[in-house]
């Protein structure tokens, strides 16, 4: 049984490194041990049981939230929302936004921007560009749009690609 497991491991690992020599096979990209740990190896039921499970034929990779929501991990980071300015879009105080610097931004997107010393989450409105200013639109009647003109410090930080909230407290 143990030998079987070992053989399986070798099959997958041998694509990457020579286990005995612990060095890369010619032409293969060098992968560190740390990366191997994060490689997704298909998971086989029934190996340890000694009798193959019929479900083994249908083995499939597990769903991973990172795959679904974080296409650019190097360019993504989290921001915590403070305040009520976006409740009209369902973004509440304490929500965690995932921000992606590589996603293309266009008019109407929810963005995070650095404005005059602090971060803000708003919808981008460039329709007033010809008049020499942009608007960052809140989604709450109690808040006014933020007008950005040439004198403001305004640095776009990325597009909000998903919103996360722990609903266990509800």
């Amino acid at each position: 049984m143990i030998r079987h497991c070992f053989v399986f491991l070798r099959i997958f690992a041998s694509n990457l490194i020579d286990m005995e020599e612990n060095r890369p096979i010619d032409g293969a990209e060098i992968i560190t041990l740390d990366e191997i740990r994060h490689l997704k190896l298909p998971y086989f039921e029934g190996l340890a049981a000694g009798y193959p499970s019929p479900a083994g034929d249908y083995q499939h990779e597990k769903l991973d939230l990172n795959d679904k929501f974080v296409p650019h991990p190097e360019a993504s980071y989290f921001v915590r929302v403070s305040g009520e300015s976006m409740i009209g879009l369902g973004i509440y105080d304490g929500d965690i936004c995932l921000v992606d610097r590589l996603e293309e931004i266009s008019d109407g997107n929810v963005v995070v921007a650095f404005v005059n010393g602090g971060l803000t989450v708003k919808t981008l409105d460039t329709s007033t560009r010809d008049k020499g200013y942009l608007r960052l639109m809140p989604h709450n009647p109690d808040f006014k749009p933020i007008i950005i003109d040439a004198y403001d410090q305004f640095i776009l930080q990325g597009k909000v690609t998903s919103i996360h909230r722990d609903t266990r407290k509800y």
Binding site: F78, G118, Q153
Partner: protein
């Protein structure tokens, strides 16, 4: 062809990722314990601020906050540079990370591409994705690539990427490069070469090999000479395989007693053990060195190193700390003012192939220790580094009374930025 990707003023640039308002403004990063300046932005360099300047001198010169100051936040720097290196890895067939802020690519098979444009595009992409400015040098050898990255960094006209392609370009690059800046030529050798009238890399490269052998008689220097002449002789493996791990630091003040010295060394040893476990390997030898302050010529000087071989290679915190402490006790001499110490673990091998020693090996104990280390790592990962430490790792409190609960209470870092990307409690807030 090789490319080296090097982060510009890495630590300062990491601090600016979430402080874009600081772009274009002078900022510096201080060493551990807020002692002296270890990194400077270009604007700080332009003000004549030097690396190594003690913080109090900076404060005297700029009392009104003209220069933004940060305590070092290695957790942040580690994460941001990891992101950068991950993008570089995806851009080339073979990648080797060389240090926290630089990595080499082997561009074999990409020669048909416009490599200058490849580098410019990669630099622009990394900036867009991570907000880290990088300089890229491309050349036939790693030493020349390193030189090219220096040109890319210092001359805007290169647009972040300098390619040394033709022999003409190589000669021109060598002529404008001081010998003491050359990668692989240490300070001592540079001084010796300068004494013989060699000023630039070109002067050195045009000497005959026999002259270099006779004058320097050093393998690394001869390799460097060959690399400057376009001969690719430094193997890639040498750049990536970590055969030893070193954790060392200068102390905030000077240390005279064994107990205090041992506390520091215990922490370095624990850090080494943690690094070993992180890369799933074990070490065969533990080595400790201690050093006095060379700048204090009025004080007696002492340097020593002690090492001990482990019967069974290990990555267990307790075992490595205990071994390091034994080494320390052997080399410690009373009456000196110690300024620096470090722990090096050597003979690193993957932990799945441990050769057990029959006299020493106790399978049950080994399993227990392994579980303990796993629990230790998990807690320290979830609740912050040094949540759980060995008693011998406990530093004395800042005020000198009693033991500090965490390392943070023992050192100063008054200007530390949040760990924006690695702790939930520290993620930036947006209104």
């Amino acid at each position: 062809m090789y490319a080296i990707v090097d982060c510009d003023n890495a630590y300062v640039s990491c601090e600016r990722v979430f402080r874009p308002d600081l772009n274009g403004k002078p900022c510096v990063v201080l060493s551990n314990n807020d002692g002296c300046i270890v990194a400077r932005s270009n604007e700080a360099k332009a003000l004549g601020i030097k690396t190594g300047t003690p913080y109090y001198q900076l404060k005297e010169r700029f009392p009104n906050g003209e220069v933004t100051v940060f305590s070092s936040n290695y957790e942040l720097y580690g994460d941001i540079t990891d992101r950068v290196m991950s993008l570089v890895r995806k851009a080339a067939p073979t990648f080797y990370r060389y240090s926290i802020d630089e990595g080499f690519c082997d561009l074999s098979g990409m020669e048909h591409l416009d490599l200058k444009k490849w580098g410019e595009d990669l630099s622009a992409f990394i900036w867009k994705a991570t907000r880290m400015p990088v300089s890229i040098g491309i050349a036939k050898t790693k030493t020349l690539a390193k030189m090219a990255s220096h040109y890319a960094k210092h001359y805007k006209g290169f647009n972040h990427c300098c390619l040394i392609g033709t022999d003409e370009q190589r000669v021109k690059a060598l002529e404008g490069y001081d010998i003491d800046e050359v990668w692989g030529i240490g300070r001592r050798y540079a001084a010796r070469l300068q004494a013989t009238g060699i000023k630039t890399a070109y002067d050195f490269a045009s000497k005959a090999e026999s002259w270099v052998r006779a004058t320097l008689n050093n393998v690394v220097a001869i390799r460097t000479w060959k690399e400057l002449n376009g001969e690719d002789v430094i193997p890639m493996e040498e750049m990536s395989k970590k055969k030893s791990i070193c954790t060392s630091r200068s102390f905030p003040g000077m240390i005279t007693d064994l107990l205090n010295l041992r506390t520091h060394i215990s922490n370095y040893a624990a850090r080494c053990a943690e690094k070993l476990r992180k890369q799933q390997s074990v070490a065969q030898t533990v080595c400790v060195f201690v050093d006095t302050n060379h700048f204090r010529e009025d004080l007696p000087q002492y340097w020593n190193m002690g090492e001990e071989r482990l019967l069974t290679p290990s990555n267990n915190t307790q075992q490595i700390v205990q071994t390091a402490n034994r080494c320390t006790e052997r080399i410690f001499r009373q009456g000196y003012y110690y300024k620096r110490a470090g722990v090096i673990v050597m003979g690193i091998v993957p932990d799945n192939g441990i050769q057990t020693n029959f006299v020493d090996y106790d399978a049950e104990r080994h399993e227990k220790m392994k579980k303990l280390d796993e629990a230790l790592d998990k807690i320290n990962r979830e609740y912050g580094t040094e949540t759980i430490v060995l008693a011998s790792q406990q530093y004395t409190k800042k005020d000198g009374k009693g033991k500090a609960d965490v390392f943070a209470d023992a050192i100063r870092h008054d200007f530390k930025s949040p760990c924006y990307t690695t702790r939930w409690s520290d993620i930036p807030e947006a209104t």
